[in-house]
């Protein structure tokens, strides 16, 4: 990351603000000077995270890494078994591969769809009208419901043989008794639809960052006679690419770590065709009490998600607009 911040000697400009008593003035002055060095300011401002990470994250992370090398059933002692968990995962656990495939499909399909929806709706809702507050709320509300029991029940009902979806198809003359959730080809799509339906949070981020685009850009463009369509392609979209990138990275991570949709609705049925990786991991850890194995699964996923994220970062320079470039 290159930068162009002017590094003025900041200490030079801060003497005037000192309102300390004479005794400690010298000491305090030195302290202030130190505090106003850029690198020191960096550490000071980053302190909450440094502290939080060391205090709340690092130990549990190390512990879980340790568990991944053990036979651990949560309620008893963990015993070291080396790489056995990892070996078993790659060589003996069919569900590991199966759930990995399902998760990749889910993430790679639902995330782009969700982002496209979120972006389109965000653009539509930019217009200010009396109803726009209502509209925004309406499109955002599904995200608030998240993974509640109500959603689980409703989703199963909607896609049931006698459910709403088949009824709607009936209205269009397609008499269907199709079991959307019972077919190995379609069940995963009901979960993808649920994920896409909850596009509200990505939409909100798009809305917020659309507001960040300076209005003069559009004014200048209109003066030049650019159509709205051109404006979208030449101004809005390029300036939005950092946010698209952000949403893409976050949603990809979330997509691979997806849990709720499968857990509350299908639990992997039918025939494990909707079994998310995280649900498999959860079952292993908390149902079968193979918590060591579950930890190993989590770390394998971390490497995979890390690789996907790194890949996305590598593509960044080809399509993400960078102010400083």
């Amino acid at each position: 990351m290159s930068h162009a911040t002017a590094t003025l000697p900041s200490s030079a400009r801060n003497g005037s603000g000192a309102k300390t008593n004479g005794l400690s003035f010298r000491k305090e002055g030195a302290l202030r000077a130190l505090l106003h060095k850029e690198s020191v300011a960096g550490y000071v401002c980053a302190f909450p995270f440094i502290f939080g990470f060391l205090m709340f994250m690092i130990v549990p992370m190390i512990l879980s890494l340790w568990y991944s090398f053990t036979d651990y059933n949560i309620i008893g002692e963990a015993s070291f078994i080396g790489l056995d968990n990892y070996v078993e995962m790659f060589t003996q656990d069919d569900l590991f591969w199966k759930s990995l495939g399902v998760t990749f499909l889910f993430a790679l399909v639902s995330v782009p769809l969700k982002l496209v929806f979120a972006l389109i709706v965000a653009m539509l809702l930019l217009r200010n009208s009396k109803a726009s507050g209502f509209y925004r709320a309406a499109y955002y509300l599904p995200s608030i419901l998240g993974g509640s029991v109500a959603i689980a029940i409703l989703w199963r009902q909607m896609f049931a043989t006698d459910g709403v979806i088949n009824q709607v198809l009936g209205v269009f003359g397609i008499d269907s008794k199709f079991a959307w959730l019972g077919d190995t080809r379609t069940a995963i799509w009901t979960l993808i639809i649920l994920a896409v339906w909850q596009f509200g949070s990505s939409m909100l981020i798009f809305l917020a960052s659309l507001k960040q685009i300076p209005a003069e850009l559009y004014e200048a463009a209109s003066v030049d006679g650019a159509s709205k369509w051109t404006q979208f392609w030449k101004i809005t979209l390029p300036l939005l690419t950092p946010t698209i990138f952000f949403n893409l990275v976050m949603q990809m991570i979330n997509g691979f770590l997806a849990f709720t949709q499968c857990y509350i609705i299908t639990q992997g049925k039918p025939m494990n065709s909707t079994l998310f990786y995280m649900v498999h991991m959860y079952d292993e850890s908390f149902t079968n009490y193979h918590a060591g194995y579950g930890a190993a699964m989590a770390w394998v996923m971390l490497v995979l998600v890390g690789a996907v994220t790194l890949f996305l970062f590598a593509t960044k320079r080809f399509w993400v607009y960078d102010e400083e470039a």
């Binding site: 020191v40 995270f49 512990l63 509640s148 959860y282 102010e323």
Partner: protein, 310 residues
């Protein structure tokens, strides 16, 4: 794609002075074509109804007699209306603890954790995207990695750790970590927005005599409003919905948050009162909805310029 970027950067040449960023895009240029507007409203409204169907279903279900919730799941409007579910729900599980206590508990947890998260994340994001110091990249990587480990796998180790700290049986694990920017998502979100703020503003402020902290307080923070608002909405909603933490760390039944209390209307091993659950679920989404309605107008009104004066 690259053509678009070139043109955008040439367009951005006009951004030397961006004091007017307060103006929102939509106020810039909108031709007022009536038929178009009607089509727009019809479409957006119709689709909004589709989006709202599940919520409507839940709310209407909460007025159905509880033993008919499933048998009538296919119909939206109850044939027989009842308020019993609300009476049952508000009664709670113990005589001395009415249901609204749980809502109060959740409000306390969600509000404190949200305020903590948003402020700490903002300042950390400022450090990571604007200030140069050794280890910045390491911190960024640590933040990304911390998002890639699922909560389910950290649950037990975290519990053991908080137990060592003596924090179990209290709200501390549900609040304090969030005040230390433990959720990388918010840092990264704010970083993304800070990067959209032109650096020339920092430089101008610096020339005016602002320290690095001053730049944050007077330039970045005010301009970060859309991100702060978004962060508040998300954080509140997530804290509100979180039951995993409370499950482990709250043992006093009077201190349960609402997300966990809701689950107690249903028990797969015995019978469940889905009517009461839907009634209380309908009540418990209200705060998130209100927070959204309250904050969303700040998203729309754009950023106040008052912070720009160094």
């Amino acid at each position: 794609m690259s053509a678009a970027i070139t043109s955008a950067s040439s367009a951005s040449a006009g951004r030397a002075n961006r004091a007017g960023r307060a103006n929102s895009v939509n106020s810039a240029n909108r031709p007022r074509i009536k038929p178009g507007r009607i089509v727009y409203h019809v479409l957006v409204f119709a689709f909004a109804l589709v989006m709202l169907y599940p919520i409507a279903w839940m709310v209407f279900s909460s007025f159905k007699p509880t033993n008919t919730v499933f048998s009538t799941a296919g119909q939206l409007i109850p044939t027989e209306w009842t308020l019993d579910n609300y009476a049952n729900g508000f009664k709670g599980f113990e005589e001395s603890i009415p249901f609204y206590r749980y809502i109060g508990n959740s409000l306390f947890i969600a509000v404190t954790a949200t305020v903590g998260t948003v402020f700490s994340s903002a300042i950390v994001a400022y450090a990571l995207s604007r200030l140069h110091f050794k280890g910045r990249k390491v911190l960024f990587t640590a933040m990304m990695i911390s998002m890639m480990l699922p909560a389910q796998v950290l649950m037990v180790p975290q519990y053991l750790w908080y137990q060592k700290l003596g924090w179990t049986d209290s709200y501390l694990p549900l609040i304090v970590p969030y005040c230390f920017a433990i959720q990388g998502f918010f840092i990264y979100l704010m970083m993304n927005f800070i990067e959209g703020i032109p650096r020339s503003l920092d430089e101008a402020a610096q020339i005016d005599g602002c320290s690095y902290y001053g730049i944050f307080a007077r330039v970045i923070f005010p301009l970060l409003t859309p991100a702060l608002v978004t962060g508040c909405i998300f954080s509140f909603m997530w804290r509100w919905d979180d039951f995993l933490g409370a499950l482990l760390y709250v043992s006093d039944s009077a201190k349960l948050p609402v997300a966990l209390a809701l689950k107690m209307f249903a028990d797969p091993s015995s019978s469940s009162d889905y009517g009461a659950m839907f009634a209380m679920a309908s009540v418990s989404i209200l705060p998130s909805v209100l927070i959204f309605l309250f904050f969303q107008k700040y998203l729309v009104e754009g950023v106040s310029t008052s912070g720009l004066k160094g």
